[in-house]
Amino acid sequence: MSELTNRSVTRHIKALADGEYSSAELTAEFLKEIEKTDGHIGAYLLTDTVGALNAAEASDKRRSAGCLLSCIDGIPAGIKDNICTKGVRTTCASKMLEDYVPPYDATVITKLKDSGFVMLGKLNMDEFAMGSSTENSAFKITKNPVDVSRVPGGSSGGSAAAVAAGEAAYTLGSDTGGSIRQPASFCGVVGMKPTYGRVSRYGLVAFASSLDQIGPITRTVCDNAIILNAVAGHDERDATSLDIQTGNFSRLIGKSIAGITIGLPDEFFGDGLDDDVRRCVLDAAKAYESMGAKIVSVSMPSVKHALAAYYVISSAEASSNLARFDGVRYGYRAKSFDDVAGLYLSSRSEGFGKEVKRRIMLGTFALSSGYYDAYYKKALQVRSLVKADFDSIFHKCDAILSPVAPTAAYRIGEKTSDPLAMYLGDAYSVPVNIAGIPALSLPCGKNAEGLPVGMQLMGKDFTEDLLYQLGAAFEAEKGEQI
């Protein structure tokens, strides 16, 4: 990994300002790194060399003309392949959309373009964001840059691996049940799942509309706040986006955390949690205590139902969201069929992968007449309970600390034969999506094998700034300068 591509966004901002290197030079360096590294990492599904270099040159021209669009103008990034990019193939890592080129940009892309965007390419993921290891991609396996025999996590595995491998200065991922936080944790980088509605979902190919949220993956906490500043904000094209002032998410970074109360929920430290992970997260709690924070034990009784509720709600919504992929207007169409029903059946059977089909079946069943009350309605009730539990905890503390996942990165192929074991890995991350609250995942140590362990800081709605403050404080206390 070249020293240059290994730097934080914050350092690139300064170096570009100081004229240490140009955006074109930096972009060329990243493209070189991708060329060199991605063959064995597999983070990218598509690289846009020409587009990236052109955008970088345009940025350099703006810089010399003194009319930069933002502080991140000219800093190269990668985008998860479920975020629509006008004129650039967007596949959701599915055979279904293998050749699909969107005619429009997602709002986050428009916002980045308004900030001086340099897009290196589109990143691998689990097909339609369904999965926790990026092994469900229809096109390739992405490997964990820390240990290439291991998964990078998922579904935003490509986004996390690219940042960890120095193949992008920052990336965007999406998080429906942990899909930003868990790969960030597996790859030893920083990921934020913002408050539901904080970032526009317009142009994010929907998996589960009530849970999906786009967020940044970066090398540092500070970087993450900078990128969230660029992509967050109300969007009139997304009726669920929040019409509130976003402010500056970096504003609390560096301020003392003395007096802040952090809760440790018992239920997140029970059976099934790896000892090394437990130790790392509890060490982090001690570090916070030493910085003047108050650590309290809290309880979240509803959390044991959250995972089941999550799989019902997300699959139900997915079954409807993915129904449009029918082979009629765009995307994969089966070669032979007899009638319209046959066209649907064959196109969908051949175009979707196994896990996607599993979720569609699950969701269709949960919404079916006669089962709706027992599954979907019940899941919505659990959703209310989870929200109520978080509300009551946030009366007692400002933030909640927990592991992101029960283990560090597992080996490629280790869990592919057992979907349920894979689902259980989401137990700590899904309650956040169910409640819609923000959560930050950042590295908090290494396990015995030297693999990164991540911790999760959860806050009530709209407290991304507090989570960044806490995250940055920990990073400053423990972390190395990058």
Partner: protein, 478 residues
């Protein structure tokens, strides 16, 4: 209503009406009818991956106005749901509609039939998006036109209160009139902006339990609704009488044969898997907003009808006929402003002009002021009504000025008693057989004599005066 083999029919109607908003329900594409295929589309109404719907608030406003005009309760809180099914004209493979919390509920409309007036309940009115259109072409096969995808609709569901084809027609006419008055839709059946589904079952007269119903979808004229009902009613009764059972199914009405045909039965029916659309927040309305929308509703047909009866002295029937078509009623009011012979104007309008109108709604080439002049000519006895009828036709077709025509062509009515007496005498002399018949007490013979006299006058004689003179002459010579 004559019962067929002792069975009565029970009908509920579901009416889809396109709202006249400028843009679609979830995007800013135009709703204009008749554009080139797929010209009024965008990623949102095409349902491309990643797009999101944003509700056009005008749709809510219009639907609330329709609800208020049909005496509904307006929900302060309602939501939108997804109705999931696969069909090539439905790009998202779900239709955004409303399931358990519709915008409007518990309304009614009062209708007039030959049996008097009746109240038909309205169960609910909800908003939803329209689907696209499949175009079948011999050369290219089936193609999809998405211009209509996302055009806003309201679905108005009636209670099963309708008991005859006549009532169904009266309800549809009333509903169309009311919606048209509110201005929220054109209700043009020819363009598909008003479409009707008929749910029909039969039962022995006096029974409380409903029979098994069938649904006839997308019938696009009142006349076809009547025919479909009449056919389906007898079909079901005959089936039951023959010992068969009526199957709950969707049936298609074929206007060419006048028959209905089975399409799909309940067993094969879709399970729509309704669930709340997570992309759309609930619709909330305040009392003030609802009140404001109520103020935007103009005078409705019933109120106008009452006014025509009390202020203009029209019969209930004429007032109903005039107000059933907003454009006709508007025209009538413009005419009435220029003449004091309002009842005469109404008669001429309903008698002649509505026959000349071939458009779905009343569209008149004659200036109201000019038509008022015609009514005046009749009212002040300058011309008789048969002349008026002829003039009306020429005004419509050729745009003549009635006063000018009367003067230049000498069409004034003959009121001069001596001239009328002369005419009567000539007619009596020329019709010995009729005179003989009249004297035998045959009333129709008198009409023949007057007809002959009118003919001799070139249709210009004052018919009332002529009649009384002729009658006197005949009776005195008895």
């Amino acid at each position: 209503m004559n019962l067929y083999k002792g069975y009565e029919m029970v009908i509920g109607l579901e009416v889809h009406i396109e709202l006249k908003t400028k843009t679609k329900i979830f995007c800013s594409c135009s709703t204009e009818f008749g554009a080139q295929p797929n010209m009024h589309t965008c990623p949102v109404c095409m349902g491309l991956p990643g797009v999101l719907p944003v509700l056009n608030r005008k749709v809510v406003d219009y639907a609330v106005m329709a609800g208020l005009a049909t005496n509904c309760t307006i929900a302060r809180f309602s939501k939108q749901d997804r109705k999931n099914y696969f069909y090539p004209d439905l790009p998202k493979a779900y239709q955004i509609s409303q399931y358990d919390l519709p915008l409007c509920e518990h309304g009614y409309l009062d209708i007039e039939t030959s049996d008097g007036s009746k109240r038909i309940g309205i169960t609910r009115i909800h908003i939803e998006e329209d689907a696209g259109k499949l175009v079948h072409d011999e050369k290219f096969g089936t193609m999809i036109d998405c211009n209509r995808c996302g055009v806003p609709l309201i679905e108005i569901v009636s209670e099963p209160d309708i008991r005859s084809a006549e009532e169904a027609k009266a309800y549809l006419q009333k509903l169309r009139a009311v919606i048209l008055y509110t201005g929220v839709s054109d209700c043009k059946m020819q363009e598909g902006s008003m479409r009707c589904d008929v749910n029909l079952s039969v039962r022995k007269a006096g029974e409380k339990e409903f029979g098994t119903r069938t649904e006839m979808k997308n019938i696009n004229s009142f006349q076809f609704v009547v025919k479909a009902i009449e056919y389906e009613y007898k079909r079901q009764v005959d089936a039951i009488e023959a010992g068969e059972t009526v199957i709950q199914e969707t049936r298609r009405f074929d206007p060419d044969t006048g028959k209905t045909y089975a399409m799909r039965s309940k067993e094969n029916a879709n399970d729509y898997r309704y669930f709340p659309d997570p992309d759309l927040p609930p619709i909330e309305l305040t009392d003030d907003e609802i009140h404001e929308l109520g103020l935007r509703i103009p005078e409705l047909p019933d109120a106008r009808k009452a006014r025509y009866i009390s202020d203009f002295g029209l019969s209930a029937y004429d007032a109903e006929m005039l107000t059933a078509d907003k454009y006709l009623a508007d025209y009538f009011e413009n005419v009435a402003a220029f003449t004091s012979y309002k009842k005469l104007a109404a008669n001429l309008l309903l008698g002649e002009f509505t026959k000349l109108n071939t458009a779905e709604y009343f569209e008149c080439p004659v200036e109201p002021k000019s038509f008022a002049a015609l009514a005046d000519l009749v009212g002040n006895e300058t011309i008789n009504s048969s002349t008026a009828k002829k003039l009306a036709t020429r005004m419509w077709n050729d745009g003549i000025d009635p006063e000018e025509a009367v003067t230049s062509e000498g069409l004034e009515q003959i009121n001069d008693t001596s001239v009328l007496t002369e005419l009567a005498k000539k007619a009596i002399d020329a019709s010995p057989k009729s005179v003989a018949d009249y004297k035998k007490g045959k009333a129709s013979a008198f009409k023949a004599i007057i007809g002959a006299a009118m003919g001799m006058s070139g249709g210009k004689a004052n018919p009332a005066k002529l009649s009384s003179i002729a009658e006197e002459m005949l009776n005195s010579s008895k």
